[in-house]
């Protein structure tokens, strides 16, 4: 029995909520209990936005992630704010094209992915969040059920934007296959 608490954080508009939603749906397709909770209010517009996702074998208690097992930081204020809260032994994913410092903690695993740069290099400039998510899924064994990942994407991308499925899937794979630090 296990529970994994994820916290996605960045600027409003970076797709923090979208990433969280895909992850939550992935949990649902895996038959887990899940919850997804956005920060809401004025911080959505330019400030720090965050999204709590919990995936658990047992019923989810509080949906609020205060001490994440996994932190995904898409801007410096988010890393500054949440780094200390990550559980010992946890994982921090950093968009290293937007954050030029390293993780200070020594009791966590850090991955640095230049997701925003990779996105613009590949002409998918809005999908840095999805590239990062690909790496998150890879390092948390999410890709052991690859069909589940595809199904989750299908759930989140509305029928109206079905043509975006392919490009999102490619972005996920870019992140998954990234072999940097």
């Amino acid at each position: 029995m296990s529970t994994t608490q994820y916290l996605f954080a960045g600027f409003g508009g970076q797709g923090i909520l979208f990433s969280g939603k895909v992850l939550a749906y992935k949990g649902l397709t895996d038959g887990k209990n899940v919850s997804w909770l956005p920060s809401y209010g004025p911080e959505m517009r330019g400030g720090t936005a965050s999204c709590s996702v919990i995936i658990s074998d047992t019923a989810v208690g509080s949906p609020i992630v205060e001490k994440p097992d996994v932190l995904v930081a898409m801007n410096l204020p988010s890393l500054d704010l949440y780094e200390e809260r990550v559980k010992s032994g946890g994982i921090i994913f950093v968009d290293s094209s937007l954050i030029d410092r390293k993780v200070k903690r020594t009791d966590v695993t850090a991955y640095y992915i230049p997701a925003t740069k990779m996105a613009s290099d590949n002409n998918i400039s809005k999908l840095a969040n999805v590239i990062l998510l690909g790496k998150v899924l890879k390092e948390t064994n999410g890709f052991t059920n690859e069909q589940g990942v595809i199904d989750a994407l299908k759930k989140v991308i509305s029928a109206k934007h079905a043509d975006m499925l392919e490009i999102n899937l490619n972005a996920l794979k870019l992140g998954r296959d990234y072999k940097g630090e």
Binding site: V34, L37, E66
Partner: protein
């Protein structure tokens, strides 16, 4: 069982209301419940229903009054300051015995307050909500699934007893997504022979009104209404117990506070502390007996609330001084952490009751 989908609590309320046969929604936007109105705006025109963004909360509640008087299922939703504005209309509906569903996705107060989650409208919801002798049935969901199911239940109870039902949620419950199955029992339809639908020259006029200038007549209608409330108290109390069988300490919490409390209870149990939870699902009628029974076996009750302590008064009335009832709270949009609740449990276990 149907496939589960991820939905926000606010969206689950809206979809469940439609499933319950509600075809009329009137509201005015306010964070953190605006998704209800947004959902209704999208769906109602497609199913022959009415979505109307009124010029104010006051206008919206009076439109609810009108549709209810015509015998149709109808709802409105808002958040704390908006509910205060609706107060007059809610009281008029009570006076006219009109059913409706009112949703309050609470935010911090008083005044314009903030937009973060709160439970500080407990008094307002459970003690009437506006002027005059009356009650609403108050339902407190603690999951997105319950947001949906209690919406259906709320319509059903409102029609059955000719009262307004209120869903008392909070910003977290409204904004969070969880898997939800919409494959649940639908609300029973209730005959409404009192509705003003035109006599077609075939019957006496129905009158829907809350004005009774003769005091003896007003007293009589109030007493009759409270006889109905007694039946509600007997039949409609709902609550959930968690690990109460051997509990020596009892947590009392509803909505998001109950979710936080569960984490703390699980952790305390790992430490060998016998603690359980009573989670009121109906805040009015309040599960008085559950707490009275608990007071015979636990040494302390801790009320966990997102307010300065409001439900705690009903718990104290229920246990009548038998055991200490203490408060573990945050307010103004802050939420107690599981650690804070755990600390209160450990303190109670060591005999502290401050």
């Amino acid at each position: 069982m149907s496939e589960k989908v991820l939905m926000k609590g606010n969206e689950a309320i809206a979809e469940a209301a439609i499933k319950a046969g509600c075809r009329h929604y009137f509201g005015y936007p306010i964070t953190p419940q605006t998704e209800i109105a947004a959902y209704m705006a999208k769906r109602m025109p497609k199913i022959g229903g009415t979505f109307l963004q009124a010029e104010s909360e006051i206008a919206a509640i009076n439109m609810v009054y009108g549709v209810s008087a015509a015998g149709k299922r109808v709802m409105t939703s808002s958040s704390s300051p908006g509910i205060s504005l609706k107060g007059e209309g809610i009281s008029y509906m009570a006076g006219a015995d009109l059913p409706a569903l009112i949703v309050n996705v609470q935010r911090g107060g008083p005044g314009l307050g903030g937009i973060q989650p709160s439970q500080s409208d407990y008094f307002q919801a459970t003690k009437g909500g506006a002027h005059g002798d009356f009650h609403m049935i108050v339902l407190a969901p603690a999951s997105v699934q319950e947001m949906a199911e209690l919406t259906v239940k709320g319509f059903e109870l409102a029609d059955k007893y000719r009262v307004t039902s209120m869903i008392l949620a909070d910003g977290t419950m409204g904004q969070m997504m969880e898997p939800v199955s919409l494959d649940f029992e639908l609300a029973e339809e209730v005959e409404k022979p009192w509705a003003v639908t035109g006599t077609k020259m075939g019957r006496k006029h129905n009158i829907v009104n809350s004005l009774f200038l003769k005091p003896d007549q007003l007293e009589k209608t109030n007493i009759e209404r409270f006889e109905r409330y007694e039946i509600i108290k007997q039949n409609e109390v709902r609550y959930e117990e968690y690990l109460m069988e051997d509990a020596e300490i009892c947590i009392a919490a509803f909505g998001i506070a109950a979710r936080v409390a569960r984490n703390a209870i699980d952790e305390a149990r790992k430490q060998g502390i016998k603690v359980g939870l009573i989670r009121p699902i109906t805040l009015w009628p309040f599960p008085e007996k559950a707490f009275a029974d608990a007071s015979n076996k636990v040494k302390q009750i801790i009320s966990v609330e997102l307010s300065m302590g409001q439900m705690i008064e009903d718990i104290r009335l229920s246990v009548n001084g038998k055991v200490p009832v203490t408060l573990c709270n945050r307010t103004g949009g802050m939420i107690p952490s599981p650690e804070q609740v755990l600390k209160a449990i450990i303190n109670a276990n060591e005999g502290g009751n401050e």
